[in-house]
Amino acid sequence: MNRIALLGLCLTLGLWSCKKDPKDPLVGGEPKVYQPTVIDPTSIFPAGKFGMPALPSDNPFTVEGVYLGRMLFYDPMLSFDSSISCGSCHRQENAFTETKRLSTGIYGLQANRNSSSLYNLAYSKKFFWDARQSTLRELVFEPIQAHNEMAMTLPLLAKKLGRTQRYIEYFDKAFGSKPNVFDMSKALEQFLLTLVSKESRFNAFFPGKFSLLNDSEKRGALLFNGLVDFDAVTGLTTGADCFHCHGGGLAQQNNPDMGGIANNGLDGNFPDKGYGAITGNPADRGLFKTPSLLNIEVTGPYMHDGRFATLDDVINHYSDNVNYLSPTISPMMAAHGNKQLKLTAQQKADLKAFLLTMTDTAFLANPAFANPFKK
């Protein structure tokens, strides 16, 4: 009899364990009501600009999710010693990059590459200079954990978030969850995807309303969008062929094989292998993700290692100093025939004038992207 009772007790115990936790808001008990306010993506990506990007289907924009992501982005709590936030190296006034050649992490440690600018990320499929990440959700974990950036551990971060009232409140509002690093990455993903820069003068006249440009900008636009060729009489270049890798309204090529990941003739050998270190293919050494030129006025210093301090330095590189013998140089640049453009001072000034039309002052000062902890 005792044995039968024991069997019964075991079966009961096993089945009892199936009983749902009455505190679980999803399954029984008193349901906890959270209804985040869904944001229509067309309000973020309006028609007539860059089109609707492919968005993560499991992470719809919500007012609460975006705001949570914004708080997390600017919260130094995400670093080990609570000294720096994502926003420390990605400053809004600099199109979410910063003016240092290489960023400084906690304890003064230096990052390996120049901080990437952050905007129009919804249209990219590869992230970081070496194009090693494919989703923003995965991307955010890297700087948070990098020893020379925020140096945080995820268990500790989850603990810190879980002890903070505003996160207890906002994780619940946004995801119906307690603070955790997975929903943290989704909130950051939401916020980062909302960083859309679309109001520059360039984006107002693109593609082709030339009447909105002054003469110098017009000449610069023709150089930017012209194929490399040289005038038979003067010998001057008539095209700088920037558009192959920086074309379209986004001023960026997003197909890796069409110039989206390229060697732009900086080096003959590669102290930083870039994309080649990711793929292991020698043919990819020295290739880096092609950045957008929108807001280029404020995103210096330039290139993956921040080697060029000014926009003039960048123009000088493409005009006079491209290493056409670099073994993995972009075929589209190699096709120029190992001939420097040798732009005149006027041409350089025109090209710069055109590039300056790409500054989106509304984006750089948009309060929706600003640090919510600053009053």
Partner: protein, 265 residues
């Protein structure tokens, strides 16, 4: 005996716990319930699959040249199958982006049952579409310029075919020279009808109900390059007198050298 009872108890306990797990869904087996055609594009050099960023393909000229490919994509429109009786069946909305490097080469379409004699398409598209807004298309549409990168972004419209790479005069050369052929602008749009069974066009393939018919589309890229000496011109973006002439020659090669072939496994 005691051990048996204990064993039973543990088994029941384990059963009880196991009952908590979410039910496991059986794997979904996709069975085509409609007549379907699967188009498989492949790029070949003298019959061998084209590779990217590895190997050098020999151009059999008097003075040989060696080509390494970096990128090869094309945008087609009005992609259709032609029935035995001449009826044309548009595949999807007719637009497709084929990218041989990325392996975006396999496309499935639902089509009426019947016998088909050819594949028809335009390399490029109508002028109005070519010069329309590339942002009007859905995020995954073949004409979305941001997806494909096959758009010049300014006034030039789409790139219908992009072939980029390097070439060398000799395999012992230390440095490579660039090669870039971008087919674009309205005057470079070409139409093709590729018969099953080659130039004789005598064969057909049959699409049956509730079945998928595989159709191979082979692009013999060596035939595109026939007679092209890269040292005399390795770049054409379809603009300017010299570059236009070179692009015309490449496109003529496509048509005259039967660069496309339909293969039914």
């Amino acid at each position: 005996m005691k051990n048996r009872i204990l064993g039973c108890a543990l088994a029941l306990l384990s059963l009880g716990f196991q009952a908590c797990e979410d039910p496991i869904e059986p794997p979904v087996v996709v069975v085509e319930d409609k007549p379907t055609v699967e188009l498989n594009f492949s790029a070949l050099w003298n019959g061998s699959p084209l590779t990217f960023l590895s190997g050098w393909f020999e151009q059999p000229l008097t003075q040989k040249e060696y080509i390494q490919f970096f990128n090869f994509g094309m945008i087609v429109s009005k992609l259709s199958l032609v029935k035995e009786d001449g009826t044309e069946v548009l595949l999807g909305d007719g637009y497709q982006w084929i990218d041989f490097k990325k392996g975006r080469t396999q496309f499935k379409y639902e089509v009426p049952v019947g016998k088909y004699k050819s594949v028809k398409f335009m390399l490029g598209m109508d002028s109005a579409v070519n010069h329309g807004d590339p942002n009007q298309w859905g995020a995954e549409h073949p004409l979305n310029g941001n997806l494909t990168g096959m758009h010049w972004g300014w006034a030039g419209g789409y790139i219908f075919q992009a072939i980029d790479g390097n070439y060398r005069d000799s395999l012992t050369d230390k440095y490579s020279k660039g090669m870039s052929f971008h087919t674009a602008t309205d005057v470079m749009v070409r139409s093709f009808e590729v018969p099953v069974g080659g130039a004789l066009g005598a064969a057909t393939f049959e699409v049956k109900d509730k079945a998928t018919t595989s159709v191979g589309f082979k692009y013999h890229i060596n035939r595109l390059y026939q007679g092209i000496e890269l040292k005399k011109g390795s770049v054409s973006h379809s603009e300017g007198v010299k570059e236009m002439a070179l692009m015309q020659k490449l496109l003529d090669n496509l048509q005259q050298n039967s660069a496309f072939e339909i293969a039914i496994p």
